[in-house]
Symmetry: C2
Subunit: 367 residues, 2 copies
């Protein structure tokens, strides 16, 4: 017997897990979380119409889903006022980021992102052999100008920016993004991750420009539409760029019930409006609570509040651990100086009650 | 503006689609199929307990699925008498084949398969820059000895064999496979695709040997368990090989309801037994029908019958088109001399009634 011959690249990769799931933590603790506020899931759940559509699709799950995602793409195209050829549907933004990296990143390809931005993107860049160049946040904001400058400097093929940003919750308005888009170096692609866009105020998203082959927009049903476990995301871009996904994607990879659910979600904009109001109320209340304990809620255009604990990463890490010990699942940004913060997803009133009760106990435990 | 800089490999790939879906054909025809017998889906559908479990999981779909697939892996491990560390769960065998190719295939890596075997595997090999070497079928059987000889000759990293075979439905017994496994060249990995194993007679599968790092076994809930649209497959192998999937897989890629459904499917072995009997009856009847028209059903250990039309590819292609014109969705193997055949999935009695009525009309139309 002799070990398999992995590619040199794969042999060199660590068995990384970008995020440890809450279930893994629950198993380690031997106890369920009372409030699940750490993964920016949408605790309010999908529309009743989505639940009904998905449940109705389950008996048909013996059939593969349509590999073209035709109906969903048609509906998305109508929704956005673009053509189906400008849309590719995939298994969440995570899956689409993987395909995008596969298309554009090879051995030593330069890629630019912010230090402390989405780790799963970095996982994919490393997984295809790319060289990641980072720029620091400016205050608690991703820094479009610095990203562009770095991209020029290192001749980047791919630039990543999340707007609104995760893990900080901050955002730039459309004018800032439009300027950034105008400055993308020739031949680079800006991957604009808009997973949280629906939570952001009007005027956050620059206009869709499907003639521009140097920008790709990522959207998802995981956040505002409350369907993280259904795994449906999509990308919007120039037809050539979008069509290139067909070279690499898992054509029969979509869940049939999820396709039906996403279609129903898109059609129920009234429920989305309700969700946005609930999330806003939840964020408001989380802000009030953390302020009461001397922490600062960073203004957020997402479904979570990143609370600035005002001290170092060691303190925030200890507080996260203490909250987890109180059965509250929360997370913290991974990189200093943002690691002074803790990220709390906007929960239902009963989730926030639990957080409110746990916070003083956690702080007490730290003394 | 300047075109994105794709990797050299991706730029060279065609925008291939390994299979055109039935929905695509329906849209082109402007008409639904009356019987869906072309994709080897399990028309009998999943167990009522699976449907109930998946429907019950839908309201929780706002949560990401457990990225470790812990509960499902634990159940599969108990079922197979192995450890969870010897199992990786993925979005169907298609997704797992993609990950396996990514792990083992780089620019010019030699890979061996049978000429006319599963196109999606070939799609992945090409997609990672591998060089595919093929050996012909021997009669209507994949040829283990020829595959091994070719693998030695071209120093293959990866060898693919489906047992039972798709598209022919034929199979080898465990002893033949065991001998093949013993002859896998050092450092090569034999990917043994057992998607249709549950339909095969006892004594088809060689024993699981999770100490052997040169074999990986692929299984799925898409076929016998009737869950193609749920996208759940798994691979069984040496712990090191299995753990390497963690370097590249989409950790949060699994659908939460599908995880619950697969667990319920595995627990309902009684329903599986019923399905197997129904499929056997369907195959029997398809065999009788095609014989009546002078065609030969090739013995099959799968859920489909590959009927030998006894003439050339041109005739079989015309007959497939004529059956499709009669609203019967069937497919044919793609490569001569197997392209003299047409593949008909074992349907419900009402599906086979439609096939039985359509076949003489299709033949009439060809005259």
């Amino acid at each position: 017997m002799k070990a398999p011959r992995y590619t040199k690249l794969v042999a060199s990769l660590p068995s990384t897990v970008p995020f440890v799931g809450p279930e893994t933590q629950e198993r380690a603790r031997g106890k369920k979380f009372a409030a699940r506020l750490g993964a920016n899931e949408n605790v309010f759940g999908p529309s009743p119409k989505v639940i009904a559509a998905m449940q109705a699709a389950i008996p048909d799950v013996w059939m593969y889903g349509d590999p073209e995602n035709h109906d969903l793409k048609l509906a998305l195209a109508a929704f956005h006022g673009i053509a189906p050829k400008n849309i590719v549907v995939g298994a969440g933004i995570d899956g689409l980021l993987g395909s995008l990296c596969r298309m554009m990143v090879g051995d030593g390809t330069s890629v630019v992102t912010s230090l402390g931005a989405y780790p799963t993107f970095n996982f994919h860049v490393a997984g295809y052999g790319g060289t990641l160049h980072t720029v620091p946040y400016s205050g608690d904001f991703e820094d479009p100008e610095a990203l562009i400058n770095k991209a020029q400097q290192v001749d980047a093929s791919l630039i990543y920016l999340a707007n609104p940003d995760n893990p900080m919750g901050t955002w730039h308005n459309a004018a800032v993004l439009q300027e950034m888009i105008g400055n993308v170096p020739k031949g680079s692609v800006l991957c604009l991750d808009e997973a949280y866009l629906e939570f952001a105020p009007e005027g956050t998203a620059p206009e869709l420009d499907i003639e521009n082959c140097n920008v790709i927009r990522m959207r998802t049903f995981s956040k505002a539409y409350g369907m993280a476990g259904a795994r449906v995301g999509y990308a919007i871009g120039h037809a050539d760029l979008i069509n290139s996904f067909n070279k690499v994607r898992n054509h029969f990879g979509m869940n049939r019930a999820s396709q039906a659910g996403a279609l129903a979600a898109l059609e129920d904009q009234q429920y989305l409006t309700q969700t946005l109001a609930r999330v806003a109320a939840g964020k408001q209340r989380i802000g009030e609570i953390v302020r009461r304990f001397g922490f600062e809620p960073i203004p957020s255009a997402t479904n979570f509040v990143t609370m600035d604990c005002g001290r170092d990463g060691e303190f925030a890490r200890a507080l996260v651990a203490a909250l987890i010990a109180q059965n509250i699942f929360v997370r913290m940004p991974f990189v200093a100086p943002q690691d002074r913060c803790i990220r709390v997803s906007a929960g239902r009133p009963q989730d926030i009650d639990l957080f409110e009760a746990a916070l003083p106990l956690a702080l007490e435990a730290l003394k």
